[in-house]
């Protein structure tokens, strides 16, 4: 049987079609085929959250989904969210609150934080911690990240 597949999907608003090996996972597809390297590859078995990507409006593990499964889907990466200005306030807060050190986890953290704030406009600090529990950060100790998300939640409530 053919080990390649033809796929068509939207990546950050642009329709792309490619023929790729079926085993290509979504995060490798956006990194190598789309040359969008903001989504990172950490553990490759769903533990670290560095590969977080948004598919049809919901965050997923980019390493636990095949690119072939995104056929017809709207795929959004950190580059898309960033360029659209959708998470400008989160990025600013992460910067100001020093919620970034090496930056490896940051794209995944930002996408996860954005999904939290769309689902829950006033999360408690405990709820923030629970929601980002699937994203490892080995630098900050999380405190600053929780602070930054907490601040943006408050700002967005106005």
């Amino acid at each position: 049987m053919d080990q390649n597949v033809d796929i068509t999907m939207k990546v950050n608003g642009q329709t792309v079609s490619r023929r790729i090996p079926a085993r290509t996972n979504l995060v490798d597809f956006v990194r190598y085929d789309m040359e969008l390297t903001g989504s990172h590859v950490g553990c490759e078995h769903g533990v670290c959250g560095a590969c977080t990507i948004r598919v049809d409006g919901a965050i997923v593990r980019g390493c636990l989904m095949l690119a072939a499964q995104a056929e017809g889907a709207e795929v959004e990466t950190i580059e898309g969210l960033s360029d659209a200005g959708e998470i400008a306030d989160l990025q600013k807060a992460f910067h100001e609150r020093n919620a970034v050190q090496c930056g490896f986890c940051t794209p995944g953290m930002l996408l996860t934080a954005q999904e939290l704030l769309t689902k829950n406009s006033s999360p408690s600090r405990e709820e923030i911690r629970e929601f980002i529990s699937g994203n490892y950060c080995r630098c900050t100790g999380y405190q600053a990240i929780v602070d930054a998300i907490d601040r943006v939640a408050e700002e967005r409530r106005g």
Partner: protein, 284 residues
């Protein structure tokens, strides 16, 4: 790591799934949410020839209820189960469990049926289905058969599913008046596989335990219904002596495997502690 090469088929019909299962047998893997399968493929613990993606099969994602029975389609995502009003109303034990099932990004893909069919003894949902007395609907080419959760799980990652069958849904008895629930697990990080945990449903008639069901995960080679502990509780008053008897009875029910979290004795100890806490929560 990257998976070994495989072919990929997006199945549109059940017949197509059965054709491929007949043709490829062991060399075919069903891809539902993929949140366990993809990890095992990435680590090359599994190297199938063909993946059969069932995500586009119609009618397998519904969550519905007729008041007596809650039906959860095999392809219902964990996040859909988490947010379902049917589940909150008719199976509060599942509603209590779902926030502990992995993390949001994984819940957005992972499926109820996938978790049950994979039968990971450390996963929450298989144990919860045992505590609830769920019945699974297995589809073959020539029809369906129904298997109780108590008979479905048969060993480490082993179930009653035949090679050419597909789990298509679960039927869960709706909670009845007076039934109470509790869920407890101990994990190093919220959402990770628990070191050990349990789901409990049952009643207190006055001060007396009745119709108790305790389902344990991370406590053996399969999800476990703690029959000895249940026998120690039913018909007994809710007091220290009864709780102690139930805790002691767990020795006959559970057989945890030592792992990176610690030795079996430690898990037995934690199971006893969690049982006491869960029964207190149930009674509260």
């Amino acid at each position: 790591m990257k998976p070994a090469p495989f072919a990929y088929v997006r199945a549109e019909t059940l017949d197509q799934v059965f054709d491929l299962l007949d043709e490829y047998g062991d060399e075919a893997k069903i891809l539902a949410g993929g949140q366990s399968l993809m990890a095992t493929l990435n680590m090359r613990l599994s190297t199938p020839e063909v993946l059969i993606d069932i995500n586009h099969l119609e009618g397998l994602s519904d969550i519905s209820s007729d008041g007596d029975v809650l039906r959860i389609g095999a392809l219902a995502r964990h996040s859909d189960v988490l947010e379902s009003e049917h589940v909150q109303k008719h199976a509060p034990l599942i509603a209590k469990t779902m926030p502990h099932v992995a993390h949001q990004a994984i819940r957005n893909r992972g499926t109820f049926g996938g978790s049950v069919a994979f039968a990971d003894p450390a996963a929450e949902l298989p144990a919860v289905t045992r505590a609830l007395g769920a019945i699974f609907v297995l589809q073959g080419r020539d029809g369906q058969r129904k298997v109780a959760a108590d008979d479905f799980f048969q060993g480490l990652f082993e179930t009653d599913l035949k090679e050419n069958e597909l789990l298509v849904g679960a039927e869960i008895p709706a909670i009845k008046d007076g039934e109470r629930t509790a869920f407890m697990e101990l994990a190093r990080r919220h959402g990770d596989y628990a070191i050990v945990g349990l789901a409990v449903q049952g009643r207190l008639e006055g001060d007396t335990f009745a119709d108790m069901r305790l389902g344990f995960f991370g406590a053996g080679d399969q999800p476990i219904l703690a029959k000895s502990a249940i026998a120690a509780l039913n018909g007994q008053p809710n007091n220290e002596g009864t709780i102690k008897n139930a805790q002691d009875a767990l020795d006959a029910d559970l057989d945890p495997m030592p792992d990176l979290n610690g030795p079996a004795e430690m898990k037995m100890h934690l199971a006893r502690v969690l049982t006491k806490r869960a029964l207190a929560e149930l009674a509260a």
